[in-house]
């Protein structure tokens, strides 16, 4: 196998102009005189402490929205709009969780996004997968599982992947 050339990967590069960027940031950001990276990151984390503490309060609202969207699917068949609604909420949850100190929430949200992405409807087994993801997220909050969480950080995505695969292979 040979690597594709630049023009194969980017066909428009056969006819292009290269323009030097103004690089204005380099004139505005001296590479010395500011805090060290360690100091800057520590300051940032200290300042963000209150926001992190508030996260669980409003994250519960996100989870409630997801639960309502799931419940609204009802018995008359799940539409593409229903799936998209749950995907959008899960996408938000995966972005928020780890950003505010709950990486396991991001893992569960990411797994649910992967499961929902590209689906037009959900059958009974697939709805159970969604339900289990929501229950996992609720359990993470209930147990206050913040931070790296040791081996669980590796185990949880694997377990959720196995769950998704089980349904997908059965279907």
């Amino acid at each position: 196998m040979t690597a594709a050339s630049a023009t194969e990967r980017f066909p428009e590069m056969a006819d292009y102009n290269m323009i030097p960027a103004p690089r204005r940031l380099q004139g505005k950001v001296p590479k010395s005189g500011g805090p060290t990276p360690e100091q800057a990151i520590r300051q940032a984390l200290d300042l963000a402490e209150d926001l992190m503490d508030e996260y669980q309060g409003w994250a519960v609202d996100d989870l409630d929205k997801l639960w309502r969207a799931f419940r609204d699917c009802g018995d008359i068949g799940v539409t593409k709009d229903d799936v998209n609604r749950m995907y959008r909420i899960s996408h938000g949850i995966r972005g928020h969780g780890g950003s505010f100190g709950f990486p396991l929430i991001s893992s569960a949200g990411d797994s649910l996004c992967k499961f929902l992405d590209g689906r037009n409807t959900l059958g009974k087994g697939e709805l159970e997968v969604v339900s289990l993801h929501i229950l996992v997220m609720k359990a993470i909050f209930r147990q206050d599982l913040k931070g790296p969480c040791g081996t669980l950080a590796d185990d949880l995505p694997e377990l959720l992947l196995a769950l998704r695969n089980k349904i997908d292979l059965a279907g």
Binding site: I19, P20, L25, S32, H91
Partner: protein
């Protein structure tokens, strides 16, 4: 020993999540950035651009009405663009390879995967300041040269490799 002095930077944060805007803003203040403007969507960002005159934009992808991708394309190529060369960091929960390539092809300067951390944001800021790539103008694209710095422009965990 000291590090980068970000105190003169003016940064615009465009994200429809108030919480993410607050978090990124707080991190930036911790890094020493003093002038930050939060906007909730691309339309507001475009409206505020000339007045605020940002040095850098950090934008979400998945926003109502105008997406982050469309926003980047408008900054890069629209006739009314305030500055087509403006450095843009795309901050998003999308980490699938095709999504990363779509973001790159829209003309972003750097990609930062959510969840965002102080560490990953600081690294992205340094990378954008140090970015020496030229811009490419062709019939289909205007933005930083995509043939270099490809891996360096990805920040955050690589979830594709784990799952």
């Amino acid at each position: 020993m000291s590090g980068y002095d970000f105190s003169n930077l003016r940064i615009m944060i465009c994200d429809d999540s108030r919480q993410i805007r607050s978090l990124v803003n707080t991190f930036l203040h911790g890094f020493g950035v003093k002038d930050v403007l939060e906007v909730k969507d691309a339309e507001q960002a475009l409206a505020e651009m000339a007045q605020f005159d940002p040095d850098l934009i950090i934008t979400d992808w998945n926003m109502a009405q105008t997406s982050g991708l469309e926003f980047v394309k408008r900054v890069r190529t629209s006739d009314e663009s305030h500055d087509p060369f403006l450095p843009i960091i795309m901050l998003t929960g999308y980490t699938e390879i095709n999504r990363v390539e779509m973001a790159r092809d829209s003309g972003i300067s750097a990609f930062l995967a959510k969840p965002v951390s102080a560490n990953s944001l600081y690294k992205r800021l340094m990378a954008v300041v140090d970015d020496e790539r030229s811009f490419i103008r062709s019939n289909e694209f205007f933005g930083p040269d995509r043939r270099s710095g490809r891996r360096q422009s990805f920040g955050g965990d690589d979830r594709r490799e784990r799952n």
